[in-house]
Structure formats: structure tokens, C-alpha cells
Symmetry: C2
């Protein structure tokens, strides 16, 4: 039996993310993807059931899963609150500013109904996806170090600003001077931390 060419699977994923980042999710077609990857459209269907399956797997299994691995690197739920948040912010900034295609799909995850639903479905099943962050927050809430809010509220408070700052980082790569520097990220992180600390 002829063996799978793993390089082709890799090419599909990489080039799909590239097209999404450069032209938008709405401009990714199976035929364009196949041509850009130098393969036949049929080959995509050997590896994925259909277009939705490809997109959901790209989003959940590739982008979100690697993103979370990256932001949790060197983090553990026993860390001091300010240090923990700082670690998560710097990890996120460092990772996403060097992986624009990943960031682009994360942004689409907030608007596209397909990706939105896919994430919710998997998130419930998985549970330990953002596990360390959840126990980190729980511990700090219980210890009276930070205000008591639901996890989803903390996600909005602590992590939506850093994603928006990364969005601006990419906007500013097309302008004469970058304003979203490590210093700005750190200052913002401190502001957010101060805001939720009791």
C-alpha cells in the first residue's frame, strides 16, 4: 500500500492558514488551496471529510491547540498572580506576533459561526484545555487576592486586551513606527492586573 505523504498534509495546513491570513477566510477555496499546495483537490478530501472539517480541524487541532501550548509554556497555576498573568501575556505576544496566520484564524473564530460553534463543542468536552489558567484563577479568587468573577468574565478582562494589542501590532507593521512594543505590553499587563487585584 502506498504510504501517506505527510509533507502534503503539512502543506495543506500551512498554505490554508497563509491564504486565510492574506486574503481572508472568505477567499479560501478548495481549488485555490490545492493549486497553491501543488496537489489535486481530491487529495484534500483524503485527509479531510469536507471544507468545514478542514477549517474546524485547522482551528481547533492546529491553531488553538498550539497557541495554548505556547502561552502555557513556563506557566503553572501555583505562580504569584501578577507573575502568572505577565507570563501568559508575554508568551501570547511573543508567539502570535511571530505566527500571524494563527492569529488571523483566532480572530475569525470570534465571528465565524462555524468556528465559534466548533470551539464551544470541543471546549466543553475537553475541559482541561485552559485548565491551568482556570485553577490559577480559582486559587487566587479563593485566596482573596483578586475579585470574584466567572471564568468567562475573566477571559474578557484579562485576555481580550492582549489580543487587541496584537491586532494593533500587525496594523502597525504597515506603518513607519511600531508602537506596540514589549514595554507597552508590560505596562498594559500591569494595568489590567492592578484592575482586578483586591
Amino acid at each position: 500500500m502506498r504510504p501517506k505523504n505527510l509533507g502534503k498534509e503539512e502543506a495543506i495546513r500551512t498554505i490554508a492558514l497563509q491564504i486565510i491570513a492574506e486574503e481572508g477566510l472568505e477567499n479560501l477555496s478548495m481549488q485555490k488551496l490545492a493549486k497553491a499546495a501543488g496537489i489535486s483537490p481530491r487529495t484534500i478530501y483524503i485527509k479531510y471529510n469536507d471544507k468545514d472539517d478542514l477549517l474546524v480541524k485547522l482551528y481547533v487541532d492546529v491553531v488553538l491547540s498550539e497557541y495554548e501550548k505556547a502561552i502555557l509554556k513556563g506557566f503553572n497555576s501555583e505562580m504569584n498572580f501578577a507573575e502568572g498573568i505577565k507570563k501568559l501575556w508575554l508568551n501570547g505576544f511573543e508567539y502570535l506576533k511571530n505566527n500571524k496566520p494563527y492569529f488571523a484564524l483566532i480572530q475569525y473564530g470570534k465571528s465565524s459561526p462555524l468556528l465559534n460553534k466548533a470551539y464551544q463543542k470541543r471546549d466543553i468536552k475537553q475541559g482541561d484545555f485552559f485548565g491551568p489558567i482556570i485553577s490559577f484563577l480559582d486559587r487566587n479568587m479563593q485566596a482573596g487576592i483578586i475579585k470574584k468573577f466567572p471564568h468567562d468574565v475573566y477571559r474578557a478582562l484579562l485576555f481580550s486586551p492582549i489580543l487587541e494589542l496584537i491586532n494593533e501590532y500587525f496594523d502597525y507593521t504597515e506603518r513607519p513606527q511600531q508602537i506596540i512594543t514589549d514595554e507597552v505590553i508590560l505596562a498594559c499587563c500591569e494595568a489590567i492586573t492592578k484592575g482586578v487585584t483586591l
Copy 2:
């Protein structure tokens, strides 16, 4: 000369936003829109040059323009910092939770390259779009009441959390209990305000 039927123009806009909110921007087609609005596809082209023109006008002239009118209602740049931010947050929450289609397109504005670019182009030209908020921030920075950050950084710090909370508000409308209440919004607003205050 036969006069324009303004009701049809209204229907195009309303139903387009509806389809985008319910099925996503990627599932809005001119033929689907025409059918749903009970008109011929040609009629859309009397009022808009092409699909991109329709989407950009929907986004900039309808959604963003009305959204900004709504959040600036009762706000002026001379307000006390905490009161001003509170007003903007409550206005935004009240308006968007009752106008889901508007919120949906605002979310797409962050990922879709078409809408992204359209906004930037117009924003530069217009200038006074978010004008009162910009002078509000400038005044408070100059007075040493809040930390010094570029406007774009303040947008991320002050307003991305409320948008994310509204996103969660809509998620929770499909669950047994709503957790994003006025009280939660106010508590979050206070946390954010505290974070940036000197």
C-alpha cells in the same frame, strides 16, 4: 420618473445584517439576499455598485456610524474619567445587546480584510468619528489622572473587554442562566478604570 422605494433599500440593509448575524458573512450571497428581501438581484445593484460596496457601506455608514452615535449619547469629553468610561460602557452594552446584527458585523470588522481596510481608510479621513473620546482621553492624560498611552492602546485596554463581554452575553442567551448582567458590566468597568488610573 419612477421614485425610489426607500422601503426596499431599508429591507436590503436590515435583511443583509440579519443573514450575517444568523449565518455568517461567508454565507451572505446577493441572490439569497434578494430572495429574502423579496426583490430582484438587479435592485441591489441600483443602490450599490457591487457586493463589496454594499458590505463596506453597511459596515461604515450603517453599523459603525449608528453604534458610535449610540455610545456617545449623553457623553461629553469634559466628564469625570470614571463617569465617562461608565457612560460609554453602559451605552455600548445597552445598544449592542439589543442590536445583535450590528454586533455581528462589528466582530467581522476585526477579521475580514475588506471591512478592516474600509474602516481604516474612512477613519483617517473622518477624524472626528471617535473625536469626543479622544479628547476625553487626552485631557485626562494631560491632567495626570490616567496613565499615558497612545489612543490605539487605550482602545484595546478600555473597550475590547466590553465587546468580549457582549459576545459572552450573546453566548449565554442560549444557556439556562445569563451571567453577563448590568452588575457584572459595572464591576468590570470599575476594574478597568482602576487599572489605568494613576
